[in-house]
């Protein structure tokens, strides 16, 4: 038996370069966060603090069945025994979980039965973010679940989807309307005790999206959830559960923003994906939480657990993420390749600027035979940020002919940022074929000058070069999202030339 474990740690802190670059860099990194505004609305809030009473309060508020309350309490008791993970390459002050608020929802006198009954002020928040919840105005082809702080405020195109047997609704609604499905799959991919933040989420999760694609159905439109944090000093703990039955297909998008605030806010979400035989799930994220200001003040702590299981043969799960926001990111969307011939993919662009810290990557666990995985990670570091790729490829004993290809590229801008790569490879089957490629490069002055000489302004040159670098990942995004992501990359890096 072949047993191979390698743990290479490659860290690279950029060496000083010419001061001219730094001048340009200074000039650039002053770009403001676009979604930093907040709105005052009357809120229905849980008292500050975390204890069993609060969890009962949340569960009661949501009129949950007793099994779910028990599940939450069990998670909470486990969480209390757990220690906060400290292995990630990030530093931040200790979070005082007793000072946070775990539930905040806009007050709506009556539960809206459809979009027309939703408070126009809430819809206006999404309009301002460029997310129209008006089905008529909306481009056909994308259904949205809008989550504001702790609750889902609206879900579009439910009618159209339900005709195909597709369930797309808020998590709370799913608990009420489809308890058997929720009970069956909740915690089946990410167990409540999986890790510190997953356990916390399991105890206090407030809302999120639920999606069920029945056997043989190809979802005709993109499904998406748009998360917005509005309230101050409140954590957002949403849960997303996607179940794709045999031979079904769905493409799912997730977007997020938050107001600019001086204090840090916690976002600890859990996403679970279940794919049955021959099912395919594509999950795309454009994450633009408030990253903190240019001095590193404020910003979101984005501690997220995302995992999918390719339970059936020939199933496929593909994660694509464009991460530009958050002060600290800790996130490893993963695939458990259980079914034979199942495929897992991870495409990522992670950008850090100013004082942002990102420790992100993936895990590919090969269990079934002839399973394949592909990892393409593109890190971009600018300002004084630290950007780490952390990935694990594990090939289990019976996973004959497993294949993995990993590519981890880092792009550095300026001389005060860091790029780090932590690949872990664990192979227990001699027929496995695992490839790992890595590059580190810098946006060259030569490249920028070349663009300048053709009449292209420096900012546009950087956008062009960065988008070229990230192209392989951006190409994986649905068209409309790809355009957004390109703009976002340019905006995030505006002014960080090196």
């Amino acid at each position: 038996m072949l047993y191979l474990r390698s743990q290479n740690v490659i860290s690279l802190n950029n060496s000083p370069i010419m001061s001219k670059d730094n001048e340009i860099l200074e000039e650039f990194t002053s770009k403001e966060y676009e979604h930093g505004w907040s709105v005052n609305y009357e809120a229905d809030e849980a008292p500050v603090g975390l204890n069993e009473e609060i969890i009962k309060w949340i569960s009661a508020k949501k009129e949950e069945p007793s099994w779910l309350l028990e599940w939450r309490l069990k998670a909470f008791r486990t969480w209390q025994e757990m220690a906060e993970p400290n292995w990630a390459n990030v530093t931040y002050p200790k979070i005082d979980f007793d000072k946070l608020r775990y539930y905040s929802a806009p007050k709506q006198s009556n539960k809206p039965k459809n979009l027309n009954e939703v408070d126009p002020e809430l819809l206006a928040i999404y309009e301002r973010l460029g997310i129209s919840l008006n089905e008529q105005k909306r481009l056909q082809g994308i259904a949205v679940d809008a989550v504001l702080d702790s609750v889902s405020v609206a879900t579009t195109f439910k009618g159209t989807l339900s005709k195909l047997g597709i369930i797309f609704c808020s998590f709370s609604e799913a608990v009420k309307e489809h308890p058997e499905l929720v009970k069956k799959y909740l915690g089946s991919v990410v167990p409540m005790t999986d890790n510190y933040y997953a356990a916390l989420n399991s105890a206090v999760f407030s809302d999120g999206s639920f999606c069920y694609i029945p056997k043989g159905v190809r979802c005709p439109m993109e499904l998406s959830t748009y998360f917005r944090i509005n309230a101050a000093n409140t954590g957002q703990f949403e849960r997303t559960l996607i179940v794709a039955e045999e031979e079904s297909y769905v493409s799912y998008l997730e977007g997020c923003t938050a107001p600019q605030r001086d204090e840090n806010q916690l976002h600890a979400a859990v996403v679970e994906i279940y794919a049955a035989a021959h099912a395919e799930v594509k999950y795309s994220t454009v994450q633009n939480w408030f990253p903190g200001d240019k001095n590193g003040k404020g910003g979101i702590y984005n501690f997220v657990t995302k995992r999918g299981i390719c339970a059936g043969d020939h199933s496929k799960i593909s994660w694509t993420q464009v991460e530009t926001g958050s002060a600290v990111t800790w996130k490893y969307p993963s695939c458990i390749l259980k079914g034979d011939y199942s495929v897992g993919e991870f495409y990522s662009v992670a950008v850090t600027n100013n004082y942002q810290q990102a420790d992100t990557g993936t895990k590919m666990i090969h269990i079934g035979k002839n399973t394949k995985s592909r990892i393409v990670s593109k890190g971009i570091s600018a300002g004084k940020s630290q950007n780490s790729y952390r990935g694990q490829v594990q090939v289990m004993k019976r996973a004959d002919n497993a294949r993995n290809f990993s590519q981890c590229d880092s792009l550095l801008m300026g001389d005060r940022c860091g790029a780090h790569t932590f690949p872990y490879i664990d192979i227990n089957n001699p027929s496995a074929k695992v490839e790992h490629e890595a590059t580190t490069s810098k946006i060259g002055e030569d490249q920028i000058f070349y663009c300048n000489q053709r009449g292209i302004a420096t900012e546009d040159a950087v956008a062009l070069i960065v988008n070229g670098y990230a192209k392989e990942v951006l190409n994986q995004l649905p068209m409309e999202f790809a355009v957004e992501a390109q703009k976002l990359l340019a905006l995030t890096l505006e002014g960080s030339v090196g």
């Binding site: 000058f449 053709r454 009449g455 062009l464 670098y469």
Partner: protein
């Protein structure tokens, strides 16, 4: 069109150009020749606005404007084009996409409407013929994996697309075989008009068989030490640079 007066420039404190004087009028082709290290490429880079060179003295006016006062991109938009000796690679960015960005930024500066995709592509088709460049090359990432000849051809193609008033060709002949040299020169000649001017920087006379200069200048130790017509280039081809070096160096010691 271009007037260079007493231009001094240095890099990291080392003087490279030590008093260049040059007048270029519309319709003219000037060749700048000289031995290695004489400052030929530095002159090209300083005119294009490369930041690592510091201009310590002198002035350059282009179409009546102070060229040294303009940012590199504005120089380009005003009509200065540099065909690079070593064009850089930009992975993931197709030549087409790159040029469309460039052409439209130049047009915006000149107060023109941006070209839509259809108009842009037809302009590209028209200009592609000039340098016999394959469309396949233009859909690939800019200069990535291009051969030396393909890179140079792409430079001249970009020149055709941007329609500059002053083109500076920096050692465009280096790394070209004779067929590629003919194609590139032919492209340059077709772009020549009474309204634009060309500065050809080269080490060898060979290129000047195809791009015939009106004036030839010899650069040595950061100064133009000899000017003449195309016959001067032939003389240099025959005798090398040593006789000029000796002439200048002995004059300096006297």
């Amino acid at each position: 069109m271009l007037s260079i007066k007493n231009l001094h420039a240095s890099i990291e404190g080392t003087p490279i150009l030590r008093g260049i004087n040059l007048e270029v009028k519309a319709g003219e082709v000037h060749a700048i020749m000289g031995p290695n290290g004489s400052g030929k490429s530095t002159l090209a880079s300083v005119l294009a606005g490369r930041e690592e060179y510091e201009v310590t003295e002198g002035e350059v006016t282009f179409k009546g404007k102070d060229l040294l006062d303009l940012a590199p991109e504005d120089r380009a938009r005003e009509g200065v084009f540099l065909a690079f000796q070593y064009p850089v690679e930009i992975p993931g960015v197709s030549s087409t996409n790159f040029l469309r960005t460039a052409v439209n930024q130049v047009r915006e500066y000149r107060g023109l409407e941006p070209l839509d995709a259809v108009k842009f592509l037809s302009l590209m088709k028209e200009k592609m013929k000039l340098v016999e460049i394959d469309q396949k090359l233009l859909s690939r990432a800019l200069n990535e994996g291009f051969s030396g000849g393909e890179k140079k051809r792409n430079e001249i193609f970009q020149m055709a697309m941007l329609e500059p008033t002053l083109s500076i060709l920096d050692e465009t002949d280096s790394g070209l075989d004779i067929d590629a040299l003919k194609i590139v020169s032919n492209g340059v000649n077709q772009l020549k008009s009474a309204d634009n001017a060309t500065i050809v920087v080269t080490h060898y006379q060979r290129l000047l068989d195809y791009i015939v200069p009106d004036y030839v200048h010899v650069l040595y130790k950061g100064r133009i030490v000899k000017s003449g017509t195309k016959e001067l280039a032939l003389e240099l081809e025959e005798k090398g640079y040593d006789w000029i070096k000796e002439e200048i160096d002995s004059a300096a010691t006297v």
